[in-house]
Symmetry: C2
Amino acid sequence: MREQIAIVGVGCTKFGEHFTKSWSDLAVEATFEALSDAGVELKDIEAAWLGSFRPGIAGERNIGSPLAEAIGFLNKPITLVSNICATGIDALRNACLAVSSGMYDMVLAVGVEKMRDAGSRSLMLANRTDGHPLIGKGRTAPSFFASCAHRYFHEYGIGRETLAKVAVKNHHNGTLTPKAHLQREITIEEVLRSPWVAEPLSVLDSTASCDGAAAAIVTRADIAKNLRPDYIKVAGMGLAVGTERNIFDRDFNFLEFKVTQEAARQAYEQAGIKDPRREIDIAEVHDCFTITEIIDYEDLGFAPHGEGWKLIEEGVTTLEGDLPVNTDGGLKAFGHPLGASGIRMVYEVVQQLQEKAERRQVKNARRGLAHCLGGPAALAGVVILERND
Amino acid sequence: MREQIAIVGVGCTKFGEHFTKSWSDLAVEATFEALSDAGVELKDIEAAWLGSFRPGIAGERNIGSPLAEAIGFLNKPITLVSNICATGIDALRNACLAVSSGMYDMVLAVGVEKMRDAGSRSLMLANRTDGHPLIGKGRTAPSFFASCAHRYFHEYGIGRETLAKVAVKNHHNGTLTPKAHLQREITIEEVLRSPWVAEPLSVLDSTASCDGAAAAIVTRADIAKNLRPDYIKVAGMGLAVGTERNIFDRDFNFLEFKVTQEAARQAYEQAGIKDPRREIDIAEVHDCFTITEIIDYEDLGFAPHGEGWKLIEEGVTTLEGDLPVNTDGGLKAFGHPLGASGIRMVYEVVQQLQEKAERRQVKNARRGLAHCLGGPAALAGVVILERND
């Protein structure tokens, strides 16, 4: 990109079942926390990108107006971006492109999703009526990732215990994260005993649907340095959108997601990263199910194919490990309100890089990655953030 | 913006009731016509922006994947943009920002909407279930613009005959436009006699819902000049998103739309335009109803407030006039598939600026404007295009 892009403020609501807060309440909370973090005012913002996959299930319209109304940002440019689970990361990506374009100096990216008012079936029903090629035929995200787990077990000889360690790790990290949805320790035994969602994945292998919002203030580095010395650089961004009919592709093997590989390739190339395992210090990855986090390790280049499971078995991705992953609990424990997740990940990476992560603070983190996968496995987004010093 | 942005190719399907063509068929047709017009191949495209307000009513998902699948643009960056009637113009705007950012050299913007398979009620029902603040209370676009017409008649003393002249003009232009949905002449008498939609607006005061797609290839001017000498410059862009609850605003007078004024202000400032009436040669404006076109004249600065009606009475906006408006028939006769309309307008402006508009060609058009209004009157987008010589 022409310009060095910087994040100068981030905000995030507590994720959870917010029955007493509206879609607008969440958008307001995340936005004004980000503005306050940046030390700027709403009047300093020139344009906004709103990521919200299904404002409709909260009774809001899928256009920019709900954000305009919520935060009082009227008659300004607001673009609604929708790309299922990568919605938030794509809203941020478009905000970064817009600043680098020279059109705007300072913009806002907000991800909001309010999923619990309508119950989890409403989203599935919405997907069904929109002609989702798998859900429309009775195929769901759990059954898709269950197939991946079966295949992975078959090929690489691991079992449910290894997957359970991902859930245990992320739940532990959640206990150290005041804004996380789920803040309780779990044991391998509990994961193995918990009810099936789609065998071999249990309830505790799965993320929980919830409400939440996250926001980021994006500007150029030359402006950022006058706002705060510890602004965060956007070093690389990637987005890859494939087909939701991927399982009908004869090359689809249920063991790797080309969209993650491609989004990572774009971001690594831009950031000049050749060995992500060594050059990335922390990562927030899309752990919608425990198996997904392990496949993510491989697709993001943290481990060779078939060896991602070793990172969890060897403790590499714990808070104390060499490459901590999902330090805030991830989708598993922090929660997964679709449009908010990508920016929530960026929020956590920023906390870690600015050394504000308190009890879950990782030492010497200088470069972090956020990764979202959606579809399932039909599209992915990756963002790489760096300290500026 | 940092870079001079150029449009090097445009494509547009015939608009109409395409019961034998799918959403994908339309996307393919528009995209490959645009690629062919630019003399480039799909492999030259690095990223895409898809504008589609309701892919769901055609059984498609509101993410980038339907475009990826339709045109075979797999594992690339595709952002779905949704901003009701300004969806297409906002998709193009984001594509332009992305090229100016330096991230991509050549990108695609596509607008697609397939509205007729499901019947016009399905969109209204979708709006209702998404909590549209007016339609949810039984208020529709026709009744909103009918209120504007009543108010305009009351304030400025015109009647239905003046509005009818807008419909007659646009239907005439439609007869000269092979891709327009409606290609027949109508008379003032027919407009006045046609059934009420919402009094004082009749069927022939109103746009017809239909299916269609349009596409544009966006690059930098320095690349464009090697592709074709007659590339078109993007001189200015504006977007303003307000509230759909605008009629509850005590300042709302039903006679002007601040979002159009603000989107135009942004675009004129960027393009260095001070007197749009003199400096714009042709315009495609949002004529969802005849009254809307007249209010657009005023909000876009083509006439003082209360005097827009004079442009139609004096023939200024006919093909032979001083400032031809909706040379291809506009929403009224070309049709209005929501996500496609903004890029369809750009398609027509490009045809005129490149002197390819055949029987409807305007003389000496060097600078054109496209304007979309959505909500109703909750958001607006404006793009200004120029010849490069």
